[in-house]
Symmetry: C2
Subunit: 296 residues, 2 copies
């Protein structure tokens, strides 16, 4: 049955597992999160950390930071958890003009940033195995992305942990007041239909393990089922001592190429058959606690 | 930005959404679960229903039913919940010979049933958009499957909700005493490495929303964190009145072909861009409560 697979225990010094590669990584293989492009979502259960992607959604990133800075999100709640799909938070009273939370300086809606022209200054580490949905897929500064050279477009991809701005039927009806996180099989049919603007880099399990809502689309049916959002803060606005110092593996390096290879063909002893391929949303982008920062 | 996408609201009587198709389905588009090939996993939170796939893993299905019938699983526990990966249950004392649960008539281990020769008598509804991992993918009697005509092999695929038999390093070290369910992005690197034998058709949220384990690989670190398995029963052994009567949409029909098309190009009003493609693990296989059974 596995006669064509390489023996799992064949000694091959050239073949390294992901664990080997990370153990041998150099400090320069990692990059620290930029506090100006990092959000902390504070829940009763802890903190989820989102890295923002201003290169792909500059308007939404700016607006979501503005909303966070005017404390728009503080006291809102997770209102929807749909199994194998998304967790979503919003103002539960958004549809009631008298009760809906007011916005001070940010915008309520923005034009969609569903895709944009290919920016040659952005790194793009293309994967070798193709994709069912897009002509090219790979990583751009740590984010899963796709490109269509023919139309000269580039967009972020709905992999597990990606964060987007919900919208209604009109393309320009989103803006950041309702946010969602992917917690299931990559819903690629949403690509280019909605604005993705970041990725959960720590704490996804605080969202993905929430009880599923039993209403239509996974909405909670009773207010008391909702999970309150204590606050959402831009990391730069949080005292240094209270920040979560994280580093993300760089995706524009030889090490990351080797990591992809280590996942296309798994040489851990357990494997009997090697896939020889990998899909974009199955490539891990490792995150680790940053080394202690020099005191200021 | 969406100038090349069809207008979402263009009237086209030929185009139907999945909801339209299911509303118009005929009784013959559905099939009832076979009680001899259905497992009920009883948890404190409710019942998860697994459809077994004897066509793909006859040895494991027979052995797992034998284990269920000798009450092997009753009182075991979910010991591992790894985010974006798997939920697993087992005998927590399996590694301690003096404490490990005894097996009466079933087998502890079996040869792996990782793939098998293509069986021309099995239906295979091939998807049109290809796959990153396998030469052909599609559905066989409701199960996501792949084929390689060159080597004449066929195997089940690790989509969300699929159930497999964990094993140790040796290929023949599994057998059904440790079972896992996929609760995240399809871990396709496991395909052909481990025996898949069924799919959760109802109650997946009882597993996928469990707290994640904080030990290595998502194992719970404290016994009290484990979720007890009250029992696992073959549906045929449960009184008819206590069964969960379900029907699964047939995958060898014109309706299912139309459903796939309705998901490749989404005509619901919300969509601005149509993917034009679909991946195997993103195709839903609808399940519904069966019409009332005639009394016996």
């Amino acid at each position: 049955m596995v006669e064509n697979a390489p023996a799992a225990d064949s000694p091959n010094p050239k073949v390294q597992t992901m664990a080997d590669l990370l153990a041998a990584s150099k400090p320069g293989d990692w990059r620290a999160l930029d506090p100006e492009n990092t959000l902390y979502v504070e829940l009763a259960s802890g903190r989820a950390v989102i890295e923002l992607a201003p290169a792909f959604a500059p308007g939404h990133v700016a607006n979501i930071k503005a909303l966070a800075r005017e404390h728009y999100y503080d006291g809102l709640a997770i209102v929807r958890v749909q199994d194998n799909y998304v967790v979503q938070w919003a103002d539960p009273e958004a549809d009631k003009p008298a009760l809906a939370r007011k916005i001070q300086n940010a915008k309520r809606t923005l034009p969609g940033e569903f895709d944009h022209s290919i920016d040659p200054s952005l790194s793009f580490n293309r994967l070798p195995d193709g994709d069912v949905y897009a002509p090219e897929v790979g990583f751009s500064n740590g984010f899963p992305a796709a490109r269509d050279p023919k139309s000269n477009k580039m967009w972020l991809v709905h992999c597990y942990g990606m964060v987007g701005a919900g919208r209604d039927v009109a393309a320009d009806s989103g803006g950041g007041t309702e946010l969602y996180v992917v917690i299931g099989q990559a819903p690629r049919h949403l690509d280019r239909n909605v604005t993705l603007f970041g990725r959960v880099v720590q704490g996804i399990e605080l969202l993905s393990a929430l009880p599923r809502g039993t209403g239509a689309l996974g909405f909670y049916q009773k207010p008391e089922q909702r999970a309150p959002i204590k606050s959402i803060r831009v990391a730069a606005d949080v005292p240094v001592a209270e920040r979560t110092a994280l580093e993300v593996l760089r995706t524009d390096t030889t090490l990351f190429q080797d990591l992809i290879e280590s996942r296309r063909n798994r040489h851990e002893e357990w494997f009997r058959f090697q896939a020889g391929h990998i899909e974009l949303c199955s490539v891990p982008v490792p995150v680790r606690a940053a080394a202690a920062q020099p005191s200021r």
